[in-house]
Symmetry: C2
Subunit: 471 residues, 2 copies
């Protein structure tokens, strides 16, 4: 019996669209009223989460949509998952809500086990975790760990801060607050706070008008598809991009302490790269004494058919830090070198040091994925879906291009000819009963939960065929 | 009947200390084991939250301590508060846990009400809120709002970004990413990420080895106590500090778009300032076209006997932004000028745009405070406690000094002669049954929840008297 049949006996057999526009009249009114107390300009529709179930999201107009966007890739196990509801009702969770500890100072007796439950699901080669609150927070905490390590090593791990360092850092000046950088890639997305914004390079709206650190950027491979047809060109593209990374290390105005990279650039357009590229990055970071940070915020937690997407590439030695959030419903970074634990207490510290609620949920989500073979299941769905999408791409070859994500479960994307057509496509897909999202300028990205099955893929393909025939 | 009598019928009548050290043998073992999976070097002890109740925290050794630190000022209504447990068990909360929405894109039908429930408790003069995840996050989101507003106004709110701005910001350079600053004060604490770290000026360990923005710092008043004895000197101190702020605006290397200040500098030593100082800041920010951000992360949510500490000063016009976190168990910034809503959607945006779980809890906490007159109650306790502390200060005048926080409920601090003596005091207080925390180099800060009553104050005073007699 499939997971949805077992866990979501009330999941609809297909979408239902009852309004001529989405949002419909009730949705429009709800967005307007919400706008009085919240910035609702980005709201696609207002959901009724009480009625949503499994792969289906219901809106306040009563539209029932197959959801292949899943809260910007953040709902791994469907709406109102009964097993997660049990976790939410547990005494452990209730205590985590009402007695939220300052984990660093007053951890609870159950926290060791909570953390061990999470650590079971660490990427291969990673043994430790530091907890945060969001993807941006996780990445910035990782940067702190990297900078502390780099500069403590330079200073001598046992050596105290000098009076000059102490005085200068209180004025935000070197040597206490030196210029030191994280390298990131064009089209990367790593968050929207100030350091995470400094490494984000996807769209101007993500970072305009923010003061930022003058950190280096390199180029992420832009492959030609289908991959098998352009293997030689794509290999050259890897070499070209890696050369730029190495040049930055040689020429940048300040030390580069780390490189951050997504295993698949997601917001930036679902840009994939090869095992050779990632190993090349690993080699360069080792050569120049920098840390490699893999940002698994969007790709991680099973969406690509393996728990952590970068594991696919067998990067050797494993990356130094791996950040997570979104589908994990918790955030933080994995690591394995104890040297990345700051040499003094209270350097990596804040009131909450994470959130036990999220950690409990993250472990429960990962357990559910493992115990129900959902990675295997989503890979099967993905292979099935990709085949169908190839047929659609061939049928609409003037509209659909650059189908990508083969072999990566349902972490699939394709391009449309323009932003306008993409917007029309996304809107018509909603009216055809499917909630799907875009990425970069002309991309469409599929991000269903891990409970997306062949029957759901069939509904998606039928809707897509119908919509494309009208474009 | 008092709140604790009504809500915590099982609250102990006093502390019980059963081990010779805290942590005792079980606690030491628990910290060591936790250290395998979490940085436990900062752990004072390991708590048993299942057994903790009301004002009392229980550790794994069975020690029962009166808690006047309350998770670094973050537990407003005691441990295992029965009314919050009901909220934690509610369907609304369970949905918020298992169906966490991307609030910006797919808000739930219940979110408008959830947000309105929170907004009821906004500071005087504030009408809007933007939601975040932690104090540092709230402050950085506030900075974004301030920078967007300042630069959009300069550009023209209706004007699109120029091609030059778009291209330069992708390289982290001006004009898209210009140099622009937030002014903060010496001894301030506003968080430990990169922009929040740039305005934090409390201790080197909070920000050493982090690249930071070269933003200006001014001096926060350092008053002489008792205030009534030094009113003339303290007035001069206000003028001196305000003059420095104004000089920064006149001379800084880049525009200063905002000033961030705590109503009471907490981590930095419980430094208070006068209504005249805050009004002076308001006047200077208005004069130079900058925004005033009040950081209520630690002082806000009733701890000082009013819901928002800065309301005490009747700052006119009200501050532009007020940030909150900690006791609210949620985070974000309040504001009132619609111009602080970015001129384009998706400028202030992220996957989660806050956390309904926390917002639900924040509103419930504030409701509970209001419905049970806990502000009045904590003010009464505070006045009672302050009187007793004055007596203690007089009795131990060679050890205790600078008692401060009069009329601010139990948001009280005092100094000891040295860091060593402070450490000894805090440790001995635990062994006398009281968990209390330090601030800055030699300060002791009291941060009980709002359910701290006279009977608890008596226990605190008795323990303090006993401990001081041994120093």
């Amino acid at each position: 019996m499939s997971y949805t049949a077992k866990s979501f006996s009330n999941e609809p057999s297909g979408p239902t669209v009852v309004t001529e526009t989405i949002p419909g009249p009730k949705g429009k009114e709800a967005i307007a009223k919400l706008g009085e107390v919240f910035d609702s300009r980005c709201a696609y529709f207002v959901a009724d989460y009480e009625k949503s179930t499994g792969n289906y999201i219901v809106d306040v107009d009563g539209n029932v949509l197959l959801d292949v966007y899943a809260q910007i890739a953040s709902i791994p196990l469907g709406y109102n998952n009964p097993n997660l509801i049990e976790v939410a009702k547990s005494d452990k969770m209730i205590r985590a809500i009402v007695d939220r500890p300052a984990l660093g100072n007053f951890p609870g007796a159950d926290f060791e086990q909570i953390q061990r439950d999470l650590l079971k699901h660490a990427p291969k080669g990673q043994t430790h975790v530091w907890n945060g609150l969001s993807g941006a927070d996780a990445n910035e905490l990782a940067f702190k760990a990297v900078f502390f390590n780099y500069l403590s090593k330079k200073r001598g791990f046992e050596k105290p801060f000098s009076p000059e360092e102490e005085a200068s850092c209180m004025e935000n000046l070197a040597p206490g607050n030196p210029e030191i950088a994280i390298l990131s890639f064009k089209r990367a997305f790593h968050g929207r706070l100030f350091a995470s914004g400094s490494v984000t390079r996807s769209k101007p709206v993500h970072k305009m008008d923010m003061p930022s650190f003058h950190w280096p950027t390199a180029e992420f491979p832009a492959y030609k598809y289908p991959l098998e047809q352009f293997s030689e060109e794509n290999k050259e593209e890897d070499a070209r991009c890696l050369k730029i990374v190495e040049e930055r290390f040689q020429n940048w105005r300040c030390p580069i302490a780390g490189v951050i990279v997504e295993p698949v650039q997601s917001e930036g357009g679902d840009n994939h790269a090869s095992a050779e590229f990632f190993q090349g990055l690993r080699d360069i970071t080792l050569k120049y004494g920098a840390k490699l940070i893999i940002d698994e915020v969007q790709a991680g937690c099973g969406g690509t058919g393996i728990m952590w997407e970068h594991e696919r590439y067998n990067i050797t030695p494993p990356p130094d830090l791996v950040t997570f959030s979104k589908k994990m419903q918790s955030a933080g970074y994995w690591f394995h070198d104890p040297e990345l634990i700051p040499n003094q207490p209270y350097r990596q510290f804040n009131t909450w040091c994470g959130d036990p609620k999220g950690i409990i949920l993250a472990a429960a989500i990962c357990d559910e994925i493992v115990n129900n073979n959902l990675l295997e299941s989503i890979r099967e769905t993905g292979d099935y879906l990709y085949d169908k999408l190839e047929t659609v791409q061939n049928k609409y070859s003037k509209i659909v291009s650059n189908l990508r994500g083969k072999g990566k479960a349902c972490f699939i994307a394709f391009d449309l000819p323009s932003g306008e057509l993409r917007a029309e496509f996304l809107n018509k897909m909603k009216l055809a009963g499917v909630n799907v999202g875009g990425c970069a300028e002309v991309g469409v990205r599929l991000r269903p939960g891990l409970i997306f099955e062949k029957k759901h893929a069939d509904i998606f393909i039928a809707a897509m065929d119908k919509v494309l025939s009208t474009l």
